[in-house]
Symmetry: C2
Subunit: 413 residues, 2 copies
């Protein structure tokens, strides 16, 4: 936002047809304004919503019938339409979904969470019990660690990395329950088990449970949605989505990981030496431009580049933007609040000269970590791509303004 | 949260029936835990959601069928169920509504905003035009200045002050448009006109337009809801709801207020000397305990008092809690982020001894303003109550734990 702007040029490329519009004001005056064809003015009068009272307040609000944004579901997951959203809160019904046994129906009056194992007092908690502990809310993202596609130019942000969403989560610190049940000093891990048909299980280091892990029962002001673990889920801020076990029903405190299916055959990735990396909890810093992106076509002149950046290790410190295919980088504006382990909105004003180019974003978090290119990732890991891919994403802009995703090279050129 | 807590006592009053539960684990073990009757365990098995895969990801998420929170609509307004919500974000479909001519249906492709009057370049902006300006998002509250009821003990927070809600709003600064059209130096006011059947009009001091006024087109990550002004509304952070004109279609820049119906016969309030106070823009600091409240009944022991505080003049600096009918006050915990002109969540741990009492909250904002009692308000204004009532709210707790609203005295006792 440091760039001086010719403000008049903002509208130049969206110039309206010359003409006159007669508009009746609330004061009964008839006023005349430039920039509007008479035919449109007539049409305006015919559809004037001031002529008929609309419906009264409703028991529940609705989305406009002119808005059609949707998740893009497959049999096992659905993707948040990042390119259609504003700000940092994902509407609850547009939060990405990734299920391993579908969405269970759980009666909250029958819900129970058992904590046992290396504890002094094995205890079953009802939902009512959980809600008696000190509540806290935090805004943070959740991202599936399989959140990457990049095989063709006709991809939207939703296609590329729509398996990330953000909510204001409400619940209690798991550490409250650890104290309640008396977790024993020798405990080093705990198993989290979900109540879905997959009986999802993951082993979590005990320190996360003592740190910021939550049992969440609220999402964006209301109860969790069924798709997000109703009535209660594990929330591990900044850690891979799969470990944030939904519909949580059991926690077993132990001194070693359980080596479940989801942490042995799945959610591991190949390294160059034939070994596999296991227990990759942190979601590293990432960013994506959400505007302008495929399939949009832009006009020459001022364009506000907009996007999201996040890090599972802390706050976003900076987002750099390149509008010359990576040759030079300039800091974007961060639209606060810039929160810990949270989607952060960035913007960057750019005056496009009409030549073909590529625009890119690069997140830097407060640990100093810099979002890598895919070539840098494969140089470290090898070309057998898997989970935890967070490469810099480039958008190619043709001379006619058409925007395409640019599939990244896997090797340094 | 400074108080040392006997953590074991948390669950004492929610103690489950003694018994044994046999729970089959994911590992195939049968484990035994205390605190659960066999009959419930049998029932649990019958309804075990792990036995049948649930539905796959959906194109749009849904609320659980076990959750029934709703707005409480009348013919002209609906109230947010504050006592049922968590955190600080109001789900968009539960945002309060106050309409003067119902909810208009506006086609976003036909939407236009005219800015004229004391400007160099009268201009009509389409929605597409507006979205080309630098976007920003901010989390702030909106409150109707008629947001008070207090006539009987059987009132919920929704009944008393449900005409306040909070969203993450996205849009552009009105100052961008003021520069674009060349607002003239002698301009001191502007008229904002809505496109509803009431053709809502309000006069706004020009300085608010140069300060933080926005034309908002986004709400909680998506397009505005129709009930909140789709496709665009005026947003005046911290100012009375009615001035935040929805479905905004015209701004006329002037050098005096227009004295519309909504700022002469309405939205004014009586003073003691027979005069009326007009143009009362700021929503002063206020708080309300949302838990425990009518019609709940609480148990003796630890209770976390929870509520919301906000100020139209800045940030919440402090919320004081009294659990002894106002004799002593203690600071509550503020659950961040504590944002400018925003609902802020507070909590306070209280060990109820089982005697009848009253619990109260009192907000203090960063201007030093202290939320008054109703007696203090009427001492200043007289007993002819009207708009802008933000009194301290007390909840009476009977010996049996039943909670009632306590209608406040209008005169100091």
């Amino acid at each position: 936002m440091e760039t001086p702007i010719d403000r008049r040029s903002f509208l130049a490329s969206a110039a309206t047809t010359a003409g006159i519009v007669l508009l009746k004001t609330a004061m009964g005056q008839t006023i005349q304004a430039a920039g509007h064809p008479l035919s449109a003015a007539k049409d305006q009068v015919l559809h004037d919503p001031t002529h008929t009272p609309g419906p009264p307040p409703s028991a529940i609000g609705t989305r406009s019938r002119f808005e059609t944004i949707k998740l893009a579901p497959s049999d096992t997951s659905s993707r948040t339409p990042l390119q259609s959203l504003y700000g940092i809160i994902t509407p609850s019904d547009l939060h990405f979904q990734r299920h391993h046994g579908g969405v269970p129906t759980i009666d909250p009056t029958k819900y129970e969470l058992l904590i046992h194992g290396m504890v002094d007092r094995p205890t079953v908690f009802t939902l009512r019990d959980l809600k008696r502990y000190p509540a806290l809310s935090r805004i943070c993202f959740l991202e599936c660690s399989g959140n990457y596609r990049g095989n063709k130019p006709e991809l939207t942000p939703q296609d590329i990395c729509g398996l990330t969403s953000q909510a204001e989560w409400t619940g209690i610190l798991l550490s409250n329950l650890f104290r309640e049940v008396g977790v024993q000093p020798k405990a080093t891990w705990f198993l989290a088990e979900g109540g879905d048909a997959a009986v999802m299980t993951r082993s979590i280091p005990i320190h996360k449970g003592w740190d910021d892990a939550m049992i969440a029962y609220g999402q964006n002001g209301e109860a969790l949605r069924p798709e997000q673990g109703y009535p209660a889920r594990l929330l591990l801020p900044g850690w891979e989505g799969n470990t944030n076990v939904k519909w949580i029903r059991r926690i077993q405190v132990t001194d070693k990981p359980f080596m479940t299916r989801e942490e042995t055959s799945k959610y591991t990735y190949a390294l160059k030496d034939g070994k596999y990396s296991q227990f990759n909890f942190f979601m590293d810093a990432r960013s994506i431009i959400t505007f302008p992106t495929y399939p949009l076509q832009i006009d020459k002149g001022w364009v506000e580049i907009r996007g999201l950046a996040w890090s599972g290790r802390g706050r976003i410190d900076r987002v750099d933007i390149s509008t010359d295919a990576g040759r030079s980088w300039h800091p974007a504006n961060l639209n606060g609040p810039v929160l810990d382990k949270a989607h952060t909105r960035f913007t960057y004003l750019w005056n496009w000269d009409g030549n073909e180019t590529e625009i890119l974003s690069r997140a830097v978090d407060d640990t100093g970590y810099i979002q890598p290119t895919l070539a840098e990732i494969t140089a470290l890991r090898g070309a057998d791509l898997g989970y935890h891919l967070n490469p810099i994403t480039a958008w190619y802009i043709q001379r006619d303004g058409q925007v395409f995703f640019k599939p990244p090279a896997t090797k340094k050129s």
